[in-house]
């Protein structure tokens, strides 16, 4: 590091003094406005003092000006404060959400890890029992069809458990994204082709209209594929026969937004703050693990992005994946 030049130091010192005098700590682009707010009260005070020396009509004029300026300044400050408060609340909510997810992730990964071994042993023993059973059948000539059925059922339930533990471990896996240039339009189309067939069974239309000049994005391709595929599958589950799913994207200076919109049954407002929680599901027991969206949330955070949702009950839902263009 090079030593700071004396004049820079001097400016820094002056700024420090100013900060101390005015109480402002954030300067940058807000500088002008903050200065105006800071300077206005003394100016107003001076005007009031001036008014006491002035003739009545002039005093009235000055009083009016003081009132007007004070009101403007107060309003400006108020809206600035509210905006800051709103931004803070949003950030706090996001922080709580991601901390909650991290905590649950860690806990469930611990459990999944512990349960994995017993599950593997159950699977092995079931296979061994099936083997013994066929030996016994050959030896005795008896038919153990029901026992075999029961073993098969054990096996299929064990597979179900394995599936869940696998997802849980996946959930807690620390992801270091590997950044590559990704053609998002192509990626979306690739994943949509996996969904197309199932969609056509349900008579659901899945459109992807991504702008042709969509720039490439530096991100983690397999992670993005998983998120897009998951959200499209969710959308497919959310719509009825003849439904419509639309995938679109748009970019601005800083972000690329990928929208996955469906005209399905929507999300109940009371469920809205729970949808990203692990194990939260509205599907009947056994039909969903409730891990899909929390995994998506996790993966999008891993890509330094955000996932947002807008939904109207009975009208449909739009999920937006918001990814930074400069990582």
């Amino acid at each position: 590091m090079s030593a700071p030049r004396p004049e820079a130091n001097h400016i820094g010192g002056a700024r420090k003094l100013l900060s101390k005098a005015t109480g402002a700590r954030v300067w940058k682009e807000q500088r002008l406005v903050l200065w105006l707010h800071f300077l206005l009260p003394p100016v107003l005070a001076a005007l009031v003092v001036a008014a006491t020396f002035a003739t009545p009509p002039l005093a009235a004029l000055l009083a009016g000006a003081v009132l007007f300026l004070a009101a403007c300044s107060a309003r400006g400050l108020m809206s600035r404060l509210s905006r800051a408060e709103e931004a803070k609340n949003l950030l706090t909510a996001q922080l709580i959400q991601s901390q909650k997810l991290a905590a649950v992730g860690e806990l469930s990964a611990g459990i999944a890890h512990e349960i994995n071994n017993p599950i593997a042993i159950i699977a092995q023993e079931t296979e061994w029992a099936a083997h013994l059973l066929s030996d016994a059948e050959k030896a005795s000539g008896a038919d153990f069809a029901e026992v075999r059925d029961s073993l098969r059922e054990i096996r299929s339930q064990v597979d179900r458990c394995k599936n869940i533990t696998h997802k849980l471990l996946d959930f807690a896996r620390k992801r270091e994204p590997v950044l590559q240039e990704v053609d998002v339009a192509r990626l979306v189309d690739d994943m949509a082709r996996l969904v197309d067939k199932e969609a056509s069974y349900k008579n659901v239309t899945l459109t992807r209209t991504l702008p042709e000049n969509l720039p490439r994005l530096r991100t983690d391709a397999p992670l993005l594929r998983q998120v897009v595929l998951n959200l499209m599958t969710n959308a497919l589950h959310a719509v009825d026969k003849g439904g419509l799913i639309e995938v679109t994207a748009q970019v601005d200076e800083e972000f690329m937004n990928i929208h996955i919109k469906d005209n399905g049954h929507g999300i109940d407002p009371k469920d809205m703050d729970k949808i990203f929680n692990p194990f939260f599901t509205t599907k009947p027991p056994g039909q969903g693990t409730g891990l899909g969206l929390s995994l998506c949330h996790n993966m999008v955070s891993g890509m330094a992005g955000q996932i947002c949702v807008e939904s109207q009950l009975g009208k449909g839902t739009t999920f937006t994946i918001r990814l930074p263009r400069k990582v």
Partner: protein, 131 residues
Amino acid sequence: MDIKILLVDDEFDFVETMTKRFHIRKMPVTSAASGMEALKLIDEQDFDVVILDVRMPGMDGLEVLRQIRAKRPLTEVIMLTGHASLDAGMQGMSLGAYDYVLKPADFDELLDKVRRAAERKALNVSAQARG
């Protein structure tokens, strides 16, 4: 950079055509006709990219994928599928497949995906070397 490719598919004709096409591009391809054979080859050699059919007799492609990921976490796997099965797609991606290609596969598309998968592996390897 040479990309070491392993093609796993039980369809002989498909494997033959693909191998030829990769050879024309001066990209050598090793092939395996079953999951078991593939896993044995993977034990012996470090492949960059495995192109893996989802549906094969004997060991299921997803199971092969799971074992490849356990044996060689850095090797990237591209899944090939004849039928666009959503369920298999979801499972494959969550098991860590790099990408999916629907059969009949467009060769240039597949080639591009192989290159990107290899690039990812190289990035991972250098990230690991840095610690």
